[in-house]
């Protein structure tokens, strides 16, 4: 049974994640209930929006602890997408310093332009280089493109947690991973064939 | 205001603030504004009606003299090759085109792009055309591949007839290149009677751009098929429009007979009957005619999807044709449309839907699901749950059948 529990904090397009996971062989279930999250076999945390607002909602709903426990103690596969990836960090600096869920130690800070040709936010298709033998990238052609739309990035404290890198903005983490907890800065559910490969790999974990 | 020149841009009436806009219908015929490439003038009359009215100002004998000149340019006096290609389906218009060209002393090569699901009466009408005394080429695309494409385009773009649209325009042009016969004599320019931008109605030549813009391809290209359902370029040879180089080398040029003769499908059918064209004993399902679209069993599905997407079907087309020509009042047409337009296509030419769908491996349930997906809910009655209201025969009801 490939159940995938999607955490809905009310700030993102759940539909796309649901459909994409179905398409990739998963059996998605959407929840806001911490108990369901704790018991989940696999978790997906999608996210569109601003860090502080998202954390406020997760905290209010009691989901923050539930996600952390499922990931760290339960060692369940977790996939944070875009803002969801950033929320897995220890702390975020968007607008105000906010504590994250704390699954993967690191900070979320603004993207820095490496040169005058770069613009922020980072919007569009860009390459991801596999630098950590990432299980999510299995079968994906090297330097494939994925769809990004973000202004902040996740800097993991431990370089071993950086699994995929995008060369822009001085090189930032496109994929982070610690154990079975992963974060993708891009949107796999919008990245067509390459994105579906990522989701299929995740569903297979 | 000259009726021949229709300025683009409809006069959108004052819009109901904050509310859903009702569909408007032509004041003269029965076309709704949802029809692609249709627009209304300041009197609320559509461009199809205005185009028809502009016929009065046309000097038809001058046009026919022009036609004779064009044909003379292409006539092969030594008889070593055909004078022209005439694309035909075997229907009423095809008969009419061939009869006219033979009268004008041309030696045409008839080219038929075999349709999706050829009916027995369709086959008999094709054979009848040959008996008029002409060489005939039938190009049949691989039916196994064709069926796959029918199924694919029905669900992906809501049009079972997509391969038909491509092949009926592409194959005659390919034949022109292959047989080295530059002149193609098409029948009616659909943009004339059925509405279209001014530039296309006065334009006489059907080129690649025309095909893409007006050929009913819905934006889906032949190149989009490659890689889907294991279809390779080698399967799509007859779907591939000739290159510009080939077209230029042969000097391929097309004309519409409908530019030179005031076109009337019903009149064409009457004339064709005199030459052996066969009609049905009863009205075709969902249409108001027994004399057209007799060759392809899939036509009912095609027309039904037009209804689901745009809110009008074949009955509206035919009634509007008759209304324009004074054979029927608008009110009579409207009543007939209410009775027949957009009925769920349980059969076509008597062939049951399940059998028609079975030809491309689909069942009725899956078909109904696809129908629902393509229905423009804004046009039909829905219940308080937002579900479409259907009668016991799966028929939908439009919100509006005419202007308020």
């Amino acid at each position: 049974m490939r159940t995938v529990t999607i955490v809905d904090c009310g700030l993102s397009n759940i539909d796309s994640a649901v459909r994409a996971l179905e398409y990739c062989g998963g059996d998605p279930v959407v929840t806001r209930d911490p108990a369901v999250v704790r018991a989940a076999g696999r978790l997906v945390l999608p996210g569109v929006g601003a860090f502080p607002e998202a954390m406020r909602r997760l905290n209010e709903a009691g989901l923050t602890d539930a996600i952390r426990e499922a990931a760290i103690h339960g060692e369940r596969p977790v996939l944070g997408i875009c803002l969801g990836m950033q929320l897995l960090a220890t702390a975020g600096q968007e607008m105000a310093f906010t504590q994250g869920i704390g699954v993967i130690p690191g900070d979320v800070t603004p993207l820095q332009r490496a040169d005058a040709t770069e613009r922020v936010p980072h919007i569009g298709w860009n390459t991801v280089e596999d630098i950590g033998d990432c299980p999510l990238l299995k079968g994906v052609p090297p330097l494939s493109d994925f769809y990004f739309v973000h202004s902040f990035h996740f800097k993991p404290n431990d370089p071993a947690h950086m699994m995929g890198q995008t060369p822009s903005y001085g090189g930032f983490a496109a994929i982070v991973g610690r154990g079975l907890a992963f974060g993708a800065q891009f949107h796999p559910e919008k990245s067509q064939a390459n994105g579906f490969a990522i989701l299929k790999n995740f569903v297979g974990l | 205001m000259s009726l021949g020149e229709i300025a683009p841009g409809p006069m959108w009436p004052a819009r109901a603030e904050g509310r859903e806009q009702p569909v408007r219908y032509c004041k003269s015929c029965l076309y709704p504004e949802t029809k692609p490439d249709l627009w209304f003038d300041e009197h609320g009359v559509c461009n199809a009606c205005n185009n028809f009215a502009s016929r009065e100002t046309v000097d038809w004998s001058a046009r026919q003299a022009e036609l004779k000149t064009v044909l003379q340019r292409y006539r092969q006096e030594n008889g070593n090759n055909y004078d022209c290609i005439v694309p035909v389906s075997g229907g009423k218009d095809s008969h009419y085109q061939l009869i006219r060209l033979l009268e004008l002393g041309m030696n045409p090569l008839c080219v038929t792009a075999t349709t999706d699901d050829l009916s027995p009466i369709g086959r008999r009408n094709i054979e009848n055309m040959k008996k008029l005394g002409v060489d005939f080429v039938e190009v049949t695309t691989n039916p196994v591949i064709r069926r796959k494409i029918n199924k694919f385009t029905l669900s992906t773009i809501g049009d079972v007839s997509w391969p038909e649209h491509v092949t009926i325009f592409t194959i005659p042009v390919r034949m022109a290149v292959q047989f080295n016969v530059p002149l193609i004599v098409w029948g009616e320019n659909p943009q004339h009677e059925y509405g279209g931008p001014a530039t296309s109605t006065t334009k006489n030549i059907l080129d690649r751009r025309w095909l893409e813009e007006f050929g009913g391809l819905l934006g889906f290209r032949v190149s989009d098929l490659i890689g889907q359902l294991e279809i390779q370029p080698r399967n799509l040879i007859q779907y591939t429009y000739p290159s510009d180089e080939d077209l230029q080398r042969v000097g391929v040029s097309g004309i519409f007979l409908g530019y030179y003769f005031p076109w009337d499908g019903y009149q064409n059918a009457l004339i064709a009957q005199g030459y052996g064209f066969e009609t049905l004993p009863n009205m075709v399902e969902g249409a108001l005619a027994n004399y057209e679209n007799l060759d392809n069993h899939q036509m009912g599905i095609h027309d039904y999807f037009k209804f689901l997407k745009y809110g009008f079907g074949r009955a509206t087309d035919i009634a509007s044709n008759h209304i324009r020509r004074g054979r029927m009042s608008r009110l009579d047409g409207l009543n007939l449309v209410k009775r027949h337009d957009g009925r769920f296509p349980w059969s076509y030419l008597g062939k049951p839907l399940a059998d028609i769908l079975g030809e491309f491996d689909m069942d009725v349930e899956e078909f109904m699901r696809i129908c629902d997906r393509w229905t423009n809910k804004r046009l039909f009655l829905t219940d308080h749950n937002g579900q479409l209201v259907k009668d016991k025969d799966q028929n939908l009801t439009k919100k509006l059948y005419d202007n308020a």
Partner: protein, 252 residues
């Protein structure tokens, strides 16, 4: 480097798609659903979907329609038309938009840009600017589907919008729209030079060379187009192949 995007645009009016010239969008081009499905199958970079009568009609976006359409595709989508406030933005994001475009309401009340960015992040907020070049050559921002003059200069407005938090500018030349004459390169260049956020050029593409021209001469991040894809045999994939041959960084 992030890749240059080629973005087809769909304009929706009442119950179907339309296209026209210079914002006089009168020509019905068919069902939104089939256009979405065709583009989805082709894997385009991103789709722009605009409800062009929402603001002129004084009504909100049609959330149900967007929901239905988003269900049929997996492409990144920027959705606009009639977006009034943060609640509308949230709802559109909730039904499937990746980014939401603000235009007329932002002109009337620029604070909604800031509010949107605060709640959802700048990356979700696109400021759509429609520009008319007057007979004297002066550029003016228009609102309500190109109908109402605002007296604003596009460069100033773009700067203000980016300062308030818009993450992207969708810049459309009303004069060039649907004309196949090429983009308004001077306009694109001026706006792209004035802001640090990505700028999408829109209005006028007639062939692939036009796209190359505006990308070469103005520092835009993407090109959007409608008529060229609706009415000719040209496709976004072919456009990108052409651009790649011309040396641009695109996704093939």
């Amino acid at each position: 480097m992030v890749k240059i995007r080629v973005m087809p645009t769909l304009l929706h009016r009442d119950m179907g798609l339309v296209k026209g010239e210079r914002f006089d969008s009168w020509r019905r081009t068919g069902s939104a659903l089939q256009a979405i499905k065709v583009y989805n199958m082709r894997g385009v970079d991103e789709l722009v979907f605009m409800d062009i009568t929402a603001s002129p009609d004084g009504r909100p976006p049609d959330f149900d329609l967007i929901d239905d359409l988003a269900d049929e595709c997996f492409m990144p989508m920027t959705v606009g038309g009639g977006v009034r406030d943060a609640e509308d933005i949230g709802r559109l994001l909730g039904v499937g938009a990746d980014k939401v475009s603000l235009n007329s309401h932002a002109l009337a009340n620029p604070d909604i840009i800031a509010e949107g960015a605060r709640t959802f992040g700048s990356q979700c907020i696109v400021l759509s600017i429609d520009v008319l070049r007057g007979p004297d050559g002066r550029l003016e921002v228009m609102s309500h589907g190109g109908k109402r003059p605002t007296g604003k200069d596009p460069v100033e407005w773009a700067k203000r919008g980016a300062d308030l938090g818009a993450g992207e500018i969708l810049l459309t030349s009303i004069d060039r729209d649907g004309t196949f004459q090429g983009y308004d390169i001077a306009l694109a260049k001026a706006v792209a030079a004035a802001v640090d956020v990505p700028v999408i050029a829109s209005g006028g593409a007639g062939d692939y060379a036009h796209m190359a021209d505006v990308l070469r001469q103005a520092d835009v991040a993407a090109v959007a187009a409608a008529s060229i894809f609706h009415f000719t045999e040209k496709t976004p994939a072919e456009a990108k192949k052409y651009l790649k041959k011309e040396g641009f960084n695109v996704r093939i």
